[in-house]
């Protein structure tokens, strides 16, 4: 069945459910271990198509997984949404808006959007993935947003180089860190304003971008209008939305969102045993490889002997995809998948592999991405108490009959 057809059927089921219950349009089961994965599928969120509702305010909206079967790029209206504080910029006056560049610089700037727009324009494809994507799949379970695998998306971003903006202000000797602030605000006055920072060398690498277009369209307010930071290869917590402040520091950033929140164990793969203590932590940073089957759902049925080609997406994290391998026998044997066009090393890469079921019963389909640094997804899923950076090999179980 094609994904669009499945989609249509899903829509019909949604309508039928609404007809019967008279209330909720539809539900999605994220199949979280131990249960509790049923979420409403909503279609009335402003500027969004059908989305999985994790929380209304501030919004946590997850991309229904079948969207990832539809293409390399995730449509803006299906792209996941995540805000920390409920005071979200819901109205922006583009003439009054200023991007402040301040701190340890020679000439502080207060840039209009027009001035920013007139800087050299750059473009790249990159995956934006929440640090806690797939947290709901952790075993044992951990508190936090109980995402399935849909807190990620791939888009083509257009904007200006952060380096060009920093160079305009002139970074002073002794500067080490660049901190980013935004229009969103804490609900409580004393609450920690959302800010993130990057090392100066990273901020000036020529890839970190201040974007104003997402998949060819102006950024919507849900995704950080008028401008947001793009940090290719790094988790989305750094991709500050509604960016309005760039502050150059001459020492470490001690703010809550760097010092306390979004910390991972300083261990390989951010992996620890439940209950383990005595390890250090670091701010979460670059992403690691992941891959998924997108044309089969867990529990699907396939007929014996009929070709059932597999396809999906992969991404390398902080670098491109070197290889995707597929197993249809629970990891006993692996075959290389055929990779689709390379749309940029930080983006999704599509893959395909042949499969003709030859034995009745359950088939465990696994997919493994190896990135250009030679880093492959681990066989065992990593675990940490924050529910961050999950990237173990995924298994889709299907019934052959």
């Amino acid at each position: 069945m094609t994904s669009s057809r499945r989609h249509l059927l899903g829509g019909a089921a949604a309508l039928a459910a609404a007809w019967v219950s008279g209330a909720r349009a539809a539900e999605v089961d994220l199949n979280l271990p131990g249960g509790g994965g049923v979420r409403p599928l909503i279609t009335d969120y402003p500027q969004k198509g059908a989305m999985i509702l994790q929380r209304t305010r501030p919004p946590l909206l997850e991309t229904p997984f079948e969207v990832f079967d539809e293409g390399t790029f995730t449509p803006n209206n299906r792209f996941y949404v995540r805000w920390h504080w409920a005071v979200i910029p819901t109205e922006v006056d583009v003439n009054a808006f200023r991007l402040e560049v301040k701190g340890h610089v020679n000439a502080p700037l207060s840039l209009t959007l027009r001035e920013l727009y007139n800087l050299p324009r750059v473009e790249l494809a990159a995956v934006n993935q929440c640090s806690g994507n797939s947290r709901g799949l952790f075993q044992p379970r951990v508190p936090g947003a109980q995402w399935g695998n849909g807190a990620m998306g791939n888009a083509k971003w257009v904007g200006v180089r952060l380096r060009d903006v920093l160079d305009r202000a002139g970074v002073r000797a002794g500067a080490t860190v660049v901190r980013f602030g935004a229009l969103d605000q804490p609900v409580v006055q004393e609450g920690p304003d959302f800010m993130k920072s990057l090392a100066l060398d990273h901020a000036r690498d020529g890839e970190v971008m201040i974007a104003y277009l997402m998949n060819g369209e102006p950024m919507t307010l849900n995704h950080g209008f008028p401008i947001r930071l793009i940090v290719p290869g790094w988790f989305s917590t750094y991709w500050v939305k509604a960016l309005n402040s760039i502050e150059v520091l001459d020492g470490p950033d001690e703010n809550y969102w760097m010092k306390t929140a979004y910390r991972i164990p300083d261990t390989p793969g951010a992996n620890v045993r439940p209950g383990q203590t005595g390890f250090g932590t670091v701010p979460i940073n670059h992403m690691v490889p992941r891959s998924f089957v997108t044309n089969l759902r867990d529990g699907a049925g396939l007929p014996m002997g009929a070709p059932a080609p597999l396809r999906g997406i992969a991404f390398g994290g902080s670098t491109g995809v070197r290889a995707v391998d597929v197993s249809t026998d629970g990891g006993a044997s692996w075959q290389p998948a055929t990779l689709g066009p390379d749309e940029g090393k930080y983006g999704f890469r599509r893959w395909e592999a042949g499969f003709t079921p030859t034995a009745r019963g359950e088939a465990r389909i696994m997919v493994r991405c190896t990135n250009n640094d030679g880093l492959a997804q681990p066989a065992e899923p990593n675990w940490n108490g924050g529910g961050y950076m999950r990237n173990g090999i995924e298994t889709t179980s299907v019934r052959i009959g």
């Binding site: 509702l53 929380r55 819901t90 922006v92 583009v94 959007l113 804490p186």
Partner: protein
């Protein structure tokens, strides 16, 4: 006044007449075809991505239910709607207490110390899968 400016003047007067008197003959053709630069500028303007924008976001009307829910409704819903709390996996009362304390200490939620334990007790009592 150059010939070109003179022509612009005529076009402007025609435009004003059009605005004032409604119907008028079709506008005369522009004196010169637009230059490539002008075309590029027009295209860039059309694509200029920054225009005033606003959005109205839903607040979420779900309430905590059942015995003990009042203290959660009174304390939790000013910063966030109930959904994510209700989606949590089974967590012990001690873990819930930690979570509520984090709201107080890290996020400065105005939760009275006396309310911390009742909130944690209520959240731990909710049926979860």
């Amino acid at each position: 006044m150059s010939f070109q400016n003179f022509c612009y003047g005529i076009v402007a007067v025609a435009g004003i007449s059009l605005a004032l008197f409604g119907k008028s003959p079709p506008a005369p053709p522009a004196p010169y075809p637009p230059t490539p630069e002008a075309l590029r500028f027009a295209a860039a303007e059309a694509a200029y991505p920054f225009h005033n924008a606003s959005i109205e976001l839903p607040a979420g009307d779900r309430q905590f239910q059942g015995p003990g829910a009042e203290v959660a409704n009174a304390n939790c819903l000013s910063c966030h709607s109930a959904g994510m709390v209700l989606n949590q996996p089974p967590l012990s009362r001690a873990v819930w207490e930690e979570e509520v304390r984090k709201m107080r200490t890290a996020y400065h939620a105005p939760v009275a110390e006396a309310d911390v334990e009742p909130i944690a007790k209520y959240l731990a009592s909710l049926p979860r899968p």
